[in-house]
């Protein structure tokens, strides 16, 4: 064994990579070499640590020193001070980890304390491109156990016992899905991994693929054994280049070790996996559309039944699970279904990964036990709302979900409670909004997204979302009426009832839930023609406060449409008919004499 006195872990997730963490990694290697300590210090690229807000992130063990927002220029100092002389560079440490001059363990900080990492167990710990490191933490042990000591029925029984439900959004019991597919008789079956993560703001699947790709491969092989399939496909978006690259490396390594391929562990079970790239259509996350896309057709959904378990890829029984669902499987097999079922709540077992985004201090990826409250996630883990603003709502479930308000803060997060409140778990996106967010504008944003992504196969979704968007456009432009609100509700209900697939069936949710919880805001838009949050441009007016205006004329020179006029040294005026509400004047005024409201 090579003994290193210190390890430097550099985050190689997409977030940190986009802020130059790979250059930081190279610089560390260079500097360590320069100081002649390359045999004492191990430098590792890992997957996502979760605290993306503070990226690029570097952790130095054994101290567990958590360096945040590291720049390439900082590396020289970290190596010279911390690695050579043993003096952590306090100035660059994440402030929450520094206490009276000593370094606190990361697990004691608010962000990590309440987390429990099962699906993300290896993310930020192992080098995702080194299969040995995955094996070190019991990787492929579950596959070995399954192949050498369990029957397919026992495997399915274990998964059923765990109570695991689909993490992609639907929440269908995973064990039941496996059982149904196993029972279908056919000469050929398939296992598919749905990695077509498309919700705006959700990135848990990407992070798992980037940080721990082998966990998905292992789980797919286990699923193959359980249902009687010898071929797997991972359908992943081409927009995830790092995830695709690491999957390729992982598949190659697993094949070299004989963990994929023929006669795995000397048994007569053979299983192989191929990658299929998606072109980034949101609808391809719907399973029937996804399978059409794999088969080389346009990604459009089919009516169900038949379900994939009976007739899926090329008409053969197919098991489709989401990335995060698969990532939970190996620990369930190794530690037992009961262990998993002991976490979470009655109907929602285990943990769930959430992507925290929007107006929140700690943007990032968190994994928490089911049943935790929104308040704990947003305030204790997420660090609350920045800039002293007030919490207004949280959007869960992306374009298919809805909004929860301050009164729901103490609601436990479970599949069924969220659905009952008109939102949904979805894939786990959690977008926090503060008082400056206009709920009508948010609903419009999501509907614009689903309208754009509607594949057009069925009329309710294709035309219905378009009509709803037109109404919302009218409202934000100040041309809406009270009848429009009723029309939105009616249309929304019909689209939900009549659409072919999950996209259309959930597309109206953001509108319906904001209408339910923030109806007064809609009313303000259509009756008073005001946007209470001050977001909708058409409903704002820029005015100059006479008492504050010194008549310098800066604003008039700045205005691109000559809407501002006046005599120098006396107050200027804005011509509301000419004003295009670009806001250029407000930025320039040295006396803060211009307001928008």
């Amino acid at each position: 064994m090579a003994f290193y006195r210190s390890q430097v872990l550099v985050c190689g997730g997409t977030g940190c990579t986009s802020s130059d963490s790979m250059k930081i990694l190279e610089k560390f290697k260079e500097e360590v070499k320069k100081h002649n300590i390359e045999n004492e210090i191990e430098i590792v690229r890992t997957g996502c640590f979760g605290l993306c807000e503070l990226g690029p992130v570097v952790i130095v063990y054994p101290e567990g020193a958590f360096y945040s927002r590291v720049k390439v220029e900082d590396v020289e100092e970290i190596v010279a001070e911390h690695l050579v002389k043993g003096r952590p560079v306090t100035r660059l440490l994440y402030t929450e980890t520094v206490e009276e001059g000593r370094i606190k363990s990361l697990n004691e900080t608010g962000f990590y304390k309440k987390q429990e990492r099962i699906a993300l167990r290896n993310c930020g710990v192992i080098d995702p491109e080194n299969i040995d490191e995955y094996i070190a933490f019991d990787g492929y042990k579950a596959l070995a156990k399954v192949l050498t000591t369990m029957t397919p029925e026992q495997v399915i029984e274990e998964v059923k016992k765990s109570g695991l439900r689909g993490r992609g959004g639907g929440g269908f019991p995973t064990g039941l899905k496996w059982e149904l597919t196993a029972k279908s008789k056919a000469d050929q079956k398939y296992v598919v991994c749905n990695a077509d993560e498309g919700d705006p703001g959700a990135f848990m699947d990407r992070s798992i693929l980037e940080g721990d790709p082998h966990s998905v491969l292992e789980a797919m092989a286990i699923a193959g054994y359980a249902i009687g399939a010898n071929q797997g496909y991972i359908y992943v978006r081409a927009e995830y280049p790092i995830a695709v690259q690491r999957l390729k490396v992982a598949i190659k390594q697993a094949r070299e070790y004989g963990l994929l391929g023929k006669n795995i562990f000397g048994t007569d079970f053979s299983f192989d996996i191929e990658i299929r790239l998606g072109a980034g259509a949101f609808v391809c996350g719907e399973e029937t559309a996804l399978m059409n896309s794999i088969e080389g057709r346009r990604g459009m959904p089919n009516p169900k039944p038949p379900f994939p378990a009976q007739s899926g890829l090329w008409g053969k029984p197919t098991l489709i699970n989401n990335v995060e669902t698969y990532a939970n499987i190996p620990p369930i097999i190794v530690r037992g279904g009961e262990w998993f079922a002991s976490k979470g709540t009655e109907k929602s077992k285990g943990t769930k990964v959430f992507a925290l985004g929007g107006k929140i201090t700690n943007t990032g990826l968190v994994e928490v036990p089911m049943g935790i409250t929104l308040r704990e996630v947003i305030y204790e883990i997420g660090g609350g709302i920045p800039n002293g603003k007030k919490f207004k709502a949280v959007q869960t479930g992306g374009p298919s979900g809805g909004c929860l308000t301050a009164e729901h803060l103490d609601t436990p997060i479970e599949y069924d409670t969220l659905t009952a409140l008109g939102s949904m778990m979805g894939s786990g996106g959690m977008i926090v909004m503060d008082e400056d967010t206009c709920m009508v504008d948010v609903a419009r944003f999501y509907l614009d997204f689903t309208r754009d992504e509607s594949c057009g196969k069925c009329t309710p979704c294709r035309i219905g979302t378009k009509r709803m968007l037109e109404i919302l456009d009218r409202i934000v432009e100040g041309k809406g009426t009270l009848e429009d609100l009723d029309k939105l509700e009616e249309l929304g209900k019909q689209i939900k009832a009549a659409s072919l697939c999950g996209l259309g069936q959930t597309a109206p949710n953001p509108v319906l839930s904001t209408l339910k919880h923030f109806r007064d805001e809609y009313v303000a838009h259509v009756v008073d023609k005001k946007c209470p949050a001050g977001v909708c441009q058409a409903l704002l007016q820029y005015t100059i406060i006479e008492e504050k205006c010194k008549g310098c004329g800066l604003c008039a020179r700045q205005c691109p449409v000559n809407a501002i006029s006046g005599q120098v040294k006396s107050p200027f005026k804005i011509d509301q008919d000419k004003c295009i509400k670009c806001g250029a004047c407000i930025d320039k005024c040295p006396f803060k004499a211009i307001v928008k409201k």
């Binding site: 064994m1 003994f3 006195r5 210190s6 063990y61 054994p62 002389k85 050498t148 006669n263 562990f265």
Partner: protein, 133 residues
């Protein structure tokens, strides 16, 4: 790979290394590496400790450096801190002495008395002979 044994071998081989990336609540060997320590030869001491730890296959050990311990004339100084035990400070180390400490103290749990720091009549001494003279 065709057998479970092979998988187990890879696991064992790699675990010790990757496990170091988690919080360790284990024996710490701390070497004073300020200017005074380095000048007195702390660097070969540190390397010797690491070599010995590796050779003996010790896994539950943190080898760390620290700044000036404040007793510059006794450098190189090595401190061994075992969980639940009082810290032991070794002074005037060299590579050979350091290896012995790893073998006898860290591995077998026997403090190497003759290298420890001694306080005699309020004076810090590292050599009984001084007192006898």
């Amino acid at each position: 790979m065709k057998t479970l044994q092979e998988l187990e071998e890879i696991r064992k081989r790699t675990l010790d290394r990757v496990n170091q990336r988690k919080d360790r609540t284990t024996t710490r060997i701390v070497v004073g590496m300020a200017t005074c320590g380095i000048a007195a030869g702390a660097r070969p001491v540190l390397l010797a400790i690491m070599e010995e730890v590796e050779k003996l296959g010790l896994t539950d050990v943190v080898v760390a450096q620290t700044g000036c311990i404040g007793l510059c004339k006794m450098e190189p100084i090595v401190e061994v801190i075992k969980p639940g035990e009082e810290k032991v400070t070794y002074v005037k180390m060299d590579a050979e002495k350091a290896r012995r400490i790893v073998r006898e103290h860290v591995k077998d749990g026997k403090v190497v008395e003759e290298y420890t720091m001694h306080v005699i009549q309020g004076k810090i001494l590292n050599d009984y002979k001084v007192e006898k003279e």
